[in-house]
């Protein structure tokens, strides 16, 4: 909960900095927000080039997760997508591909449709937050690209996901 608040706060700060054109001091703000370089996370944060895909993955969060056979976004998923939308507003030249994924506990073709629906629902939420539809594509991978290989809920929960991949042109 505290973490989530901190993240929302960080988005707000970032927005303020972009709006006021003080991007050069952004690193300092992040260090304040994330604890001033005293832990690993803050170090990664300070190393990621703002506007890079690393920045997006580490500082914003590139993925949201789903319950079994579900396509609905829970509060955690919505919070991440809100941060993604804010970040995308900072970098209007960047577009993304949202990959939909499912766990191995379904049949192949159903999982393609399910993962397509997951990606579409994530995109619809981004669009509702003001991200233009032409900046976002989707690819459904079904159960074909798991990130975790074990055959238990610990892995399946990581595989039921929609991942936003940054395209920098």
């Amino acid at each position: 909960m505290v973490y989530k608040k901190a993240l929302n706060l960080s988005v707000t700060f970032l927005l303020i900095f972009i709006l006021t054109g003080c991007s050069s001091t952004r690193k300092n703000v992040e260090q304040i927000l994330f604890g001033g370089g005293n832990n690993n996370e803050a170090e990664i944060v300070s190393n990621a080039i703002p506007g890079s895909s690393q920045d997006f993955t580490v500082n914003v969060g590139d993925r949201v997760f789903f319950a079994t056979n579900s396509t609905s976004l829970d509060d955690d998923a919505k919070a991440i997508l809100e941060r993604q939308a804010s970040w995308l507003e900072l970098y209007p030249e960047i577009s993304i591909i949202v990959e939909g994924h499912a766990d191995e506990r379904g049949t192949r073709e159903y999982n393609i449709a399910l993962s397509a629906k997951r990606a579409d629902i994530a995109v619809a939420y981004l669009e509702s937050l003001g991200i233009a539809g032409d900046r976002v594509e989707t690819v459904p991978y079904g159960k074909e690209r798991p990130v975790a290989a074990c055959s238990s809920e610990a892995c399946w929960s990581q595989n039921r996901r929609a991942v936003s991949v940054v395209i920098i042109e």
Partner: protein, 437 residues
């Protein structure tokens, strides 16, 4: 007492035997789980012009392996043979075959002439001493496996009164590499796992191949252009082309029974709907129009109906509709969810994957949903495909865990005679062809 009893049992046995043989000389009922395979003597194909017994012996082995693999026949070990067959023209000494319990006898000889082979073969009923089949095939050497499968199909047909399924191929996905970075290639092999050929390089993710009814093309899913789209692969020319341009993702393609149309799913916003595309002009026709996941379609063999899966009830269930999309009715009502329905080529059954209590099963039901029967049950069984005679299924079974992966199995629709198909590596998404010749 024992004498009278013995005589009674003997006469009972005689009656039983007499009544079965009087109707049809020798016949196996393939609809029952067959626990006693028919003993058959398959004599080595006589090969006078080749002292090494090379080709004749190879053909013999394939015929015996096909028949044994069906689970309906028991080829007798040639070491038990009391008689030697030196010619297909002479009538065999039936008694010497009856003594070793051979109910049927196969004899054949190979003649080589002008770079063509000719095989003359006969099938005998050793009890009635009648010839059930006398025929020949002319072939070039490279086709010897097909010839062996065709002869095995003929033997199967004469002794079961059902069409065979040995001279067929399986399209499948050959899998390699770790689970998180699996490489998938389009592949085909003979029904017995021989002659496996990889058709794609593995650069693009490919899934769910299905044979065209004439066996010359495959329709499948490829991520060639980043997005999953339906493609057709021409096996002879090795050419690929995309099946129409849709405003979205297309998947789950199948040929119509006449091979002139493709039915598939189109993902559109919140749902996936079924479309039919005419391959002659790429005209497309919408068959469903809901915000659910409607996929995995399969035509009835007479093209009048389509079975598919939909989650409109909240879970995946099976539905049948008229071929024009009207008159949708649910047919699956058991516990759990149902998917990947496939209509039998005979029209009598629908095979499916069932998921219940975290287990994945393969089953069959009649086309109205009655008579559900589970054929195999375990951690993960998926994607049944029918042999052209509608009596045998293949499916894939995935083992759990980080090193887990799929293998293809065949099984009778009775649930008996499950066999793993030997493939070079992991293999999934089998699709059984029609008879090739």
């Amino acid at each position: 007492m024992t004498n009278r009893m013995n005589r009674f049992i003997f006469s009972l046995f005689f009656l039983l035997f007499y009544s079965t043989t009087s109707q049809a000389a020798l016949e196996i009922d393939v609809t029952e789980g067959n626990l006693r395979p028919m003993p058959i003597a398959i004599t080595t194909v006589i090969d006078r012009q080749n002292e090494q017994l090379g080709l004749g012996l190879d053909i013999t082995k394939v015929i015996a392996s096909d028949l044994a693999g069906s689970g309906l026949f028991y080829p007798i070990n040639p070491k038990a043979f009391l008689d030697e067959v030196n010619s297909v023209d002479r009538s065999p000494n039936f008694n010497s075959w009856r003594v070793i319990n051979a109910e049927a006898l196969f004899t054949a000889e190979l003649v080589y002439d002008n770079e063509r082979y000719r095989i003359n073969y006969k099938l005998w009923d050793t009890f009635t001493e009648k010839s059930l089949e006398a025929n020949y095939l002319v072939f070039s050497k490279s086709k010897w496996r097909n010839v062996a499968h065709m002869i095995a199909d003929t033997i199967y047909t004469r002794l079961t009164d059902e069409k065979g399924y040995f001279d067929t191929q399986i399209a499948f996905i050959a899998e390699s590499g770790p689970k998180t970075e699996r490489i998938k290639r389009l592949a085909i092999m003979d029904q017995d796992g021989q002659n496996a050929v990889l058709l794609t390089s593995g650069r693009d993710l490919v899934l769910t191949p299905r044979f065209s009814p004439n066996g010359k093309e495959l329709v499948y899913l490829s991520y060639r252009n980043g997005q999953p789209q339906v493609y057709i692969y021409d096996i002879q020319s090795k050419q690929t082309y995309v099946v129409g341009t849709f405003p979205g993702i297309t998947f789950a393609p199948r040929f119509s029974p006449d091979g002139k149309k493709i039915i598939m799913s189109l993902q559109e916003g919140v749902g996936s709907n079924l479309f039919e595309m005419d391959l002659s002009n790429f005209d497309r026709k919408r068959l469903t129009n809901t915000s659910d996941i409607n996929t995995a379609p399969s035509y009835s063999p007479d093209s009048s109906n389509i079975v598919f899966e939909s989650d409109k009830s909240g879970t995946q269930q099976l539905y049948v509709m008229d071929a024009n999309g009207n008159n949708v009715r649910r047919i699956s009502f058991g516990t759990g969810s149902y998917s990947t329905p496939v209509w039998s080529p005979r029209g009598d059954y629908i095979a499916f994957t069932k998921i219940s209590k975290g287990r994945f099963m393969i089953g069959v039901m009649f086309t109205d949903g009655s008579g559900e029967r589970i054929i195999t049950d375990g951690f993960h069984n998926e994607g049944p495909t029918w042999a052209p005679n509608g009596r045998v299924l293949m499916f894939f079974r995935e083992s759990p865990g980080e090193d887990g992966g799929p293998m293809i199995y065949s099984v009778d629709i009775t649930g008996y005679n499950e066999r793993k198909i030997e493939t070079p590596g992991y293999a999934s998404d089998p699709s059984w062809s029609a008879l090739m010749n």
